[in-house]
Amino acid sequence: MTRYIIRRIISVIPTLIGVTFVIFMFQRLIPGDPAIAMLGEHATEDSINRIREQFGLNRPLFLDREALATGDLSGFFDSQYVNYMERLSHLDLGESIHRRIPVLETLKLRFPATVELSLLSMIIAILIGIPVGIISASRRNSLIDSVSMVGSLIGVSMPIFWLGLMEIMLLAVILKWLPAGGRLSTGFEINGITHLYLVDSLLNGDLAGFKDALSHIIMPAVALATIPMGIIARMTRSSMLDVLQEDYIRTARAKGLGGRLVLFRHALKNAALPVVTIIGLQAGTLLAGAVLTETIFSWPGIGRWVYDAILGRDYPIVQGGTLLIALIFVAVNLIVDILYALLDPRIRYK
């Protein structure tokens, strides 16, 4: 088992290098000179050169063959990519172009909001998706099965930004039950160790704050949960149906065990593996979907921040935000794989 875990962790290294490489290359995708992009069209030759010098943009991208030709071996490796990796190893993600604030600072500040939203969405998706899948599988081809499967297919097909807008229209504009955006109403303040407002307010015993935070988070969380919910429900159903055809289920039934016992003790346990995998894969969908949901609900997380940065052409923020999301995605997949191996010994020996 330990060997499997070590092997799996080592296999992440090329992935990480690839991820940083791609994100580094983003810089080069910007049409034109990045120094001009930073300074604007009307920059003087002098200031452009200074910026180039400051950010190492006058260095070649990967390797400097001219330096090598003069016999300078350390100059050979003094390139933008190597410098970028070196900065990354110091957790230096650069500065926002417009605000001159280190990207990492803002990331830290905004990260809890995205985590809270994604976690709540995942909880909603699991709490609804798995039961729906189980009920569908146990009453296969019934009306309730067809309805829930068409429903989950609609969920999978949902443009979540549109669903979010429809929620706002119905619940915030017409019915005025919930606030249309933001994380807290003005006048509320929640402090705590986790920075997740729902958890912190409960820990502080601040019920009014909890209610306010909940009323803000519920709409974006439901919008974000829609697609994973549909996917989890469909996966649970098909995985359950596979397992329900197995001989040991028939044996269990023949022994006279109750339908519910067979369903939960024998079938669900064995059907859980693919469902766990698919839940892990949804982490990426959630984090990327956060860009859309947070934009609509003015949620002060990383997604909204990246969106604003895209509009404002603040590239270091886009790079930093993308890097963080990609790293989380890689980490979640790693954890899911290890969990999977723990749950299913067959995987370890493959």
């Binding site: 390797l63 300078d72 930004f161 807008l165 990609a326 997949n333």
Partner: protein
């Protein structure tokens, strides 16, 4: 003695039914399912309305502007105030939303189709080649080609550093030679030493003209390249390398990568298509590869090999037709995903450039007017996205059930 009447002995053969092809059967199963029929209807409706409107219903987005009709609610009859009929209302520039939704279909579907086409072609070819050569030994010509290309690619770094195109020729030749004389001292240390010495000579000698440290770096690269080419690199190795690259692309969360690519490239439909397409390549590569692996050991492939059919012919005549079903299903579902991603890009202002109509961009354009009650400007484009995506998903589900009855659950 009774007369035997042969007529009485002719049995009506109830076991023989009319001939049906595999695809004919699949088609019958497909149209017997209600949800698949619904999906097919929706897909055909969207594709035909988009195509017909594009060619036969003239629309010039750049001239479409009428402030007197700004943000009018849907009306089905002509009134004093609104002299024209707008079944879906009008947007902030007084443009008819119905017209733009119908025309927007052309852009949205086109992005989906081109993006999936990119993923399918690249992913499919990668999957076919890796799956095939992972199991089947390469012919001499193929091995020489692979070694030559490897030599060229590996040598290019050294050639670039030394600024010596001559090295490139040398390394390509080295690769060709290593590929041709595969059995030469095979599996012995002598072979590795021989080729690494050749590698050092090819890279370091021309590099000496550029300086001694260049020669040093190039020599190391030449040594590594030589060792690499000396070891028998087979199809399995090639396949592993490709799959690791695919895994790397997959380790990015799907359309976040597309969003990031377009964010840096600048908005535009074409860039969106490419970004979404590239992100989808690994999905098709992995699917095709595993499908190939499941048929490549079948007897009919062995039979084709033993009658001397070429590898290309085996891949296209025997393997491809037998792995089409999962790919067709994935393509249909992939279209749904691509349309959704394209709409997301458009919504973020990274897709079609205004005033070009596109569903996602239309939403992004008018969602700020939602609070002032203009629900129609948001409802209809979004509905179009959802329905078209749902249509492709329903059709994909139906196709999966129809093409692979074993998978039917």
């Amino acid at each position: 003695m009774t007369q035997i009447n042969p007529e009485e002995f002719i049995v009506t053969d109830f076991a023989v039914r009319e001939h049906r092809s595999l695809w004919g059967d699949a088609w019958r199963r497909l149209i017997s399912s209600n949800t698949a029929r619904l999906g097919m209807f929706v897909v055909i409706l969207f594709i035909s309305s988009a195509t017909l409107s594009h060619f036969f219903w003239e629309y010039e987005p750049k001239k479409d502007l009428d402030y007197s009709l700004k943000l009018k609610a849907p009306n089905l009859t002509v009134t004093e105030e609104i002299p024209s009929i707008h079944p879906f209302g009008t947007d902030k520039l007084g443009r008819d939303i119905f017209r733009r939704v119908v025309h927007g279909g052309w852009n949205s579907l086109r992005v989906g189709i081109v993006a999936v086409g990119i993923s399918l072609i690249f992913g499919g070819v990668i999957g076919l080649l890796t799956g095939f050569y992972e199991t089947i030994t390469m012919t001499t010509v193929e091995r020489i080609t692979l070694f030559g290309i490897s030599g060229f690619l590996l040598g290019s770094l050294s050639a670039w550093i030394a600024n010596q195109p001559l090295q490139l020729v040398g390394f390509t030749l080295l690769g060709l030679v290593a590929g041709y004389f595969e059995g030469f001292w095979a599996g012995q240390l002598k072979r590795v030493v021989f080729f690494s010495v050749l590698g050092i000579l090819i890279s370091a000698v021309p590099a000496l003209f550029a300086g001694s440290s260049v020669a040093l770096v190039c020599g190391v690269l030449g040594l590594l390249t030589g060792i690499f080419l000396a070891l028998a690199l087979d199809g399995r190795f090639f396949s592993n390398v490709m799959m690791r690259i695919m895994d790397m692309i997959l380790s990015f969360p799907g359309y976040l990568l597309a969003i990031a690519i377009v964010a840096f490239l600048g908005p535009g439909l074409g860039k969106g298509m490419i970004a979404i397409g590239v992100v989808g390549i690994p999905v098709y590569a992995r699917l095709t590869r595993s499908a190939v692996l499941s048929v490549v050991n079948k007897e009919y492939i062995l039979a084709a090999q033993s009658v001397g059919e070429s590898h290309g012919r085996i891949i296209f005549r025997h393997i491809t037709p037998n792995i089409l079903s999962p790919i067709i299903v994935q393509t249909t579902m992939g279209l749904a995903n691509a349309i959704l991603s394209a709409a997301a890009l458009g919504f973020l202002g990274l897709g079609a450039i205004p005033p070009e109509p596109e569903w996602g961009a239309m939403l992004g354009d008018s969602y700020r007017y939602l609070t002032s009650g203009a629900w129609w400007a948001v409802l209809f484009p979004g509905l179009a996205i959802m329905l078209s995506v749902l249509g492709f998903n329903l059709l994909g589900d139906g196709l999966r059930d129809a093409l692979d009855p074993k998978l039917r659950t």
